[in-house]
């Protein structure tokens, strides 16, 4: 990439391939956003990363906040001073911010305030699958859904305008397939940034009087029903009296268009594309519903539009008569997981009694025959040289030596993979950011009731700042004897190495004093021990010692993420397997390094029956030299 990403250029008419998240960021820039804040989370992270490229202390402040609630608070602060502000988050992040949002809705906003939520249907890079659209309705917040790349840019601009004119926080919902897809966007102009932030005398942003403010929300939504009915984001294409109308939003729009083309049923079926999904654009949707008697709703993930349509139809039976709505409830569209083009094709085949098969039968038979046994799965695992592998190796061994069948409570981050073989399957629970410590605190207190299995909570450094501190304070206050291990790899590695308060750098490129995890833990009252997880014996001994203590313990395993370390400092060692010493599969080893330790930098060569180092993959961390029972793996120091 050149230093200045094209997305930030003020070149109206320029066409660029933009990632969905970049298009959202471009929309914010074209709308004149002045403050943007987020906490990293796939599939939303690139919005802030993109805006950060355009940041400038005088014109646009961009920050990685410590968590999503704080990010939204930061954005609200700017809005209260009259500036346009954006907060971006993934679906789980909205849950964190939701407490604030459920008050902010009543307070209203001044500068346009847009919350972009990127849902992850299918949980491709998430710990859950959640359709956040219901949460917009729950809080009386207007909801827009992006369905394409240029569309995303346009919609964010539209959301800012309406947010400001209605004094309402707006939610824009994207999904993985759009946020992480790429498509062409033709740039609009970037506005002149002007005006100073100002809080006017007499202004106040509070939810009081609550009922009046709540009433006010309903009035705004009522007004938006009409505004949305005239919105360019709700469109219909198709016959005047189609036998079926596909009502769709989000990624469903493009999948539905393609399905109609592939099935060649445009003359029979209409398509109603909805960009504004809450409140329902009643006039517009009423007209659509009058056009046909059968509707197929295509949306990701839950039946949001589907249920709202049914509610609307149910309340207006005299007007609409009998209509049939197909979708999730009827089983035509899957009710879990992300949408794919074939889901829409399949539903239409059933409803229209047409059939579609792009490939000849003979070819399909040939595929079965020719590929049988030739395509095997690729399991996920820690990267070569990952410090987490060493950390969980030490934890696993310490738990075995302790012998009391202790467990590990997991958390969100790369190290969540500790529930799988790559992390020796030690982690047994996994919920929200920071909850490893909270859950462990609930387990620790059970010691007085006869629990005799020790508990270890693991937590990443970024996760620590995000949500773990209250749980740690609670642990100290309510004395829950368990071991907290902070896996400090100096990065938000899972989402792409965003800086956090411990790294000493902001996303605007400013150097700041890093906030030390160790200092925070000490100030809470823990005796903290910091270890290098690559020193396996010391790390294992420290875990064992902590497991035996009868007070809560905090250990910090500090070692830079292997991907970062490779970029910053390169390989520390060239690793070599002494084939003479390697005993391979023999009794006494049984492929200990490749089969058990499982670093991808080590390969089992079935021909020579020896382990080897894959030079292209090995990052030279040197840890495997210490686990080889025959001392057959050697480190050569690289300058």
């Amino acid at each position: 990439m050149p230093p200045r990403h094209p997305v930030t250029l003020n070149e109206p008419g320029r066409a660029e391939l933009l990632m969905g998240n970049e298009a959202i960021a471009r929309g914010a820039l074209e709308a004149g956003v002045r403050v943007a804040a987020a906490y990293p989370g796939n599939p939303s992270s690139e919005i802030i990363e993109t805006l950060a490229r355009a940041s400038d202390p005088k014109r646009l402040h961009v920050q990685w906040s410590v968590n999503e609630k704080v990010a939204l608070e930061v954005a609200a602060g700017a809005s209260f001073f009259g500036l346009r502000a954006l907060a971006a988050m993934k679906q789980n992040g909205l849950n964190v911010a939701y407490d604030f949002l459920t008050n902010l809705n009543l307070c209203g906003v001044k500068g346009g305030l847009v919350v972009v939520v990127c849902d992850d249907p299918g949980g491709i890079s998430s710990s859950n699958e959640q359709d956040t659209r219901f949460m917009a309705r729950l809080t009386d917040i207007p909801l827009l859904e992006v369905s394409g790349f240029e569309n995303a840019r346009d919609m964010v601009r539209y959301a800012f305008d309406l947010s400001e004119s209605t004094g309402s926080v707006f939610m824009v919902r994207s999904v993985t397939r759009i946020s992480h897809g790429r498509g062409p966007v033709t740039f609009g102009p970037l506005p002149e940034i002007s005006g100073n932030p100002r809080f006017e005398p007499g202004e106040a942003f509070t939810p009081f009087p609550i009922l009046a403010k709540h009433e006010r929300r309903h009035e705004v939504l009522k007004g938006l029903e009409e505004t949305f009915s005239a919105s360019p984001f709700n469109t219909y294409t198709g016959p005047d009296d189609p036998e079926l109308i596909v009502v769709t939003s989000g990624i469903g729009v493009l999948f539905s268009e393609e399905a109609l083309d592939l099935l060649e049923v445009r003359d029979r079926v209409g398509i109603a594309r909805m960009g504004t999904t809450w409140p329902l654009p009643l006039t517009w949707i009423g007209n659509i519903l009058e056009k046909s008697t059968r509707f197929l709703v295509v949306e990701e993930v839950d039946p949001f539009i589907e249920n709202n349509l049914k509610e609307f139809l149910g309340g207006n039976t005299r007007r609409f008569g009998t209509k049939t709505v197909y979708g999730k409830a009827s089983g035509h569209i899957p009710s879990v997981g992300g949408l794919a083009p074939e889901h829409v094709i399949g539903a239409l085949e059933t409803l229209l009694e047409v059939s579609y098969e792009p490939r000849p039968r003979a070819y399909i038979r040939l595929v079965k025959e020719k590929t049988s046994g030739l395509v095997i799965d690729r399991a996920l695992g820690f990267c070569p040289g990952c410090p987490h592998r060493a950390s969980f190796w030490a934890i696993k061994n310490a738990l075995a030596k302790d012998g009391r069948k202790g467990i590990v409570t997991g958390d969100i981050g790369c190290y969540a993979m500790a529930m799988w073989p790559s992390g020796y399957s030690v982690a047994k629970t996994l919920q929200a950011m920071g909850s490893g410590i909270g859950v462990a605190a609930g387990m620790g207190i059970l010691d007085t009731m006869g629990k005799d299995q020790p508990v270890i909570a693991v937590c990443g450094d970024s996760t620590f700042f995000h949500a773990a501190i209250p749980a740690l304070v609670n642990t100290r206050f309510n004395t829950s004897p368990f071991v907290t291990i902070i896996l400090d790899n100096s990065a938000t590695a899972m989402t792409g190495f965003q800086p956090h308060p411990g790294t000493g750098m902001t996303c605007m490129g400013q150097s700041v004093d890093p906030i030390e995890v160790e200092d925070i833990c000490r100030s809470i009252g823990f005796a903290v021990k910091t270890l290098d997880p690559f020193d396996l014996p010391a790390t294992e001994a420290a875990v064992l010692e902590a497991l035996r203590a009868d007070r809560p313990q905090v250990l910090i395993f500090k070692r830079t993420c292997a991907l970062l370390a490779l970029k910053e400092t390169g390989k520390a060692y060239r690793m070599r397997v002494d084939a003479e010493r390697c005993i391979g599969e023999a009794c006494g080893c049984d492929r200990y390094c490749t089969r058990v330790f499982k670093c991808p930098g080590l390969i089992w060569n079935p021909e020579t029956e020896k382990a080897e180092i894959d030079e292209a993959i090995c990052t030279g961390c040197g840890v495997c030299a210490d686990i080889c029972p025959e001392r057959a793996i050697h480190r050569e120091i690289l300058s």
Binding site: K396, N397, L399, A400, K401, G403, Y424, I583, E585, A586, C587, G588, C589, D590, Y592, R595, V596, I627, P629
Partner: protein
């Protein structure tokens, strides 16, 4: 298609986790999968090999007693209470003060390690008085520290596995009956990575009715005495029914023997051997004769060593009274009977431990004073 269970799986799930482990130490420190930590075998990772040395060495592993007996005695396994006996006598070291009983084990070890080719002696001791551990000593001067009866199964053979990785020389090995049996299996196993095969070790066996399980015993001691340093333990002869603990500061404490019995290693309940039948020479206390040992000389090698000491007047001997021999045989037969019952109860007879036909009856029919 059913796969043969891995050695690791049988050893950990069928033997260790079912309370069958003798805690002899033969299976540990051969590989990264089985190691020792604070008086217990730990195994964080699973090995997936079959025919592993660990299970082949295990005295509680699949075992054909007849085959083992033919291999090391050149004779059948008959189930006699004391196993093969060349000679049984009482012996002591004249004027030995430090030794707990007759001092014969210490004397035998000292003499044995001075013989040609011997690299030293493997003994089990209480390292720092926390958990017993095996150690190989090449300097007989170190012996007094390791002397004394330890009562706990200490995984001593782990030290042998460790030692042999760098030193192939034979050793004099002092061990419990389970360890003597494990050693014979280690000497016999035909496996390309068996570092113990055909080693000319001298095995001095110790009489044993049961041994303590290290971790629970340690916990009990800490519960009673905190971190006070112990120099030795003793079980005075009946009817004392107590366990004596001697502290570094000269103090002594007593624990009821029943408390101690509850800490016995459960794997000892299925052990058929009281007098270390697979040793070259076995030594125990001579009950009723304070300061004397009972010695069972079993093999020519054991006999030669004993005769050397006798000839050099390092030890003195006397005949074991007939009543004492009968009493010893009765005790050994009782252990065999109890073990047979326990094995049957756990459904391990013929299944894990195979005895030649008629042996079971011979054991149950043993009459004190009669028989061999």
């Amino acid at each position: 298609m059913s796969r043969e269970a891995t050695s690791f799986k049988v050893l950990t799930e069928e033997i260790i986790e079912k309370g069958e482990c003798a805690r002899c130490g033969a299976c540990v420190e051969l590989c990264p999968y089985l190691s020792l930590y604070e008086g217990a075998i730990v195994y964080p990772d699973a090995c997936d090999l079959t025919g592993g040395r660990c299970l082949s060495f295990c005295p509680k592993g699949p075992l054909d007693l007849e085959a083992l007996a033919r291999m090391c005695w050149n004779g059948p396994y008959e189930g006699t209470p004391l196993g093969p006996v060349s000679k049984v006598v009482m012996a002591r070291v004249p004027g030995s003060a430090g030794a707990q009983y007759g001092g014969v084990v210490t004397a035998l070890v000292r003499a044995a390690v001075s013989e040609n080719g011997m690299a030293g002696a493997l003994l089990t001791a209480w390292k720092d008085r926390a958990y017993p551990e095996g150690a190989v000593l090449d300097d007989p001067g170190d012996l007094p520290y390791h002397g004394g009866v330890h009562y706990a199964a200490g995984y001593g053979l782990a030290a042998l596995n460790r030692f042999r990785k760098s030193n192939p020389s034979p050793l004099t090995i002092v061990g419990l009956p389970c360890q003597a049996m494990a050693l014979r299996r280690m000497h016999a196993l035909d496996h390309e990575r068996n570092i113990h095969r055909n080693k000319d070790d001298l095995v001095i066996g110790l009489f044993c009715t049961w041994a303590l399980e290290p971790r629970p015993f340690r916990e009990e001691m800490i519960r009673r005495f905190g971190s006070r340093r112990v120099t030795r333990y003793d079980i005075p002869p009946p009817p004392a029914n107590r366990f004596d603990v001697f502290f570094e500061d000269g103090d002594k404490a007593e624990i009821p023997l029943d408390v101690i019995r509850s800490l016995v290693n459960p794997g000892c309940r299925t052990c058929l051997d009281m007098t270390a039948e697979f040793a070259d020479i076995s030594v125990g206390a001579a009950e009723g004769f304070e300061g004397w040992n009972t010695v069972i000389i079993r093999t020519p090698k054991g006999a030669a060593l004993f005769e050397r000491l006798n000839g050099e007047r390092i030890i003195e001997t006397r005949a074991l009274p007939v009543a004492s021999l009968a009493h010893l045989s009765e005790a050994a037969a009782m252990k065999k009977k109890k073990a047979l019952n326990a094995l049957a109860e756990k459904d391990l007879l013929d299944n894990r431990v195979t005895l030649p036909s008629g042996t079971r009856e011979a054991i149950f029919n043993f009459q004190p004073g009669g028989g061999k």
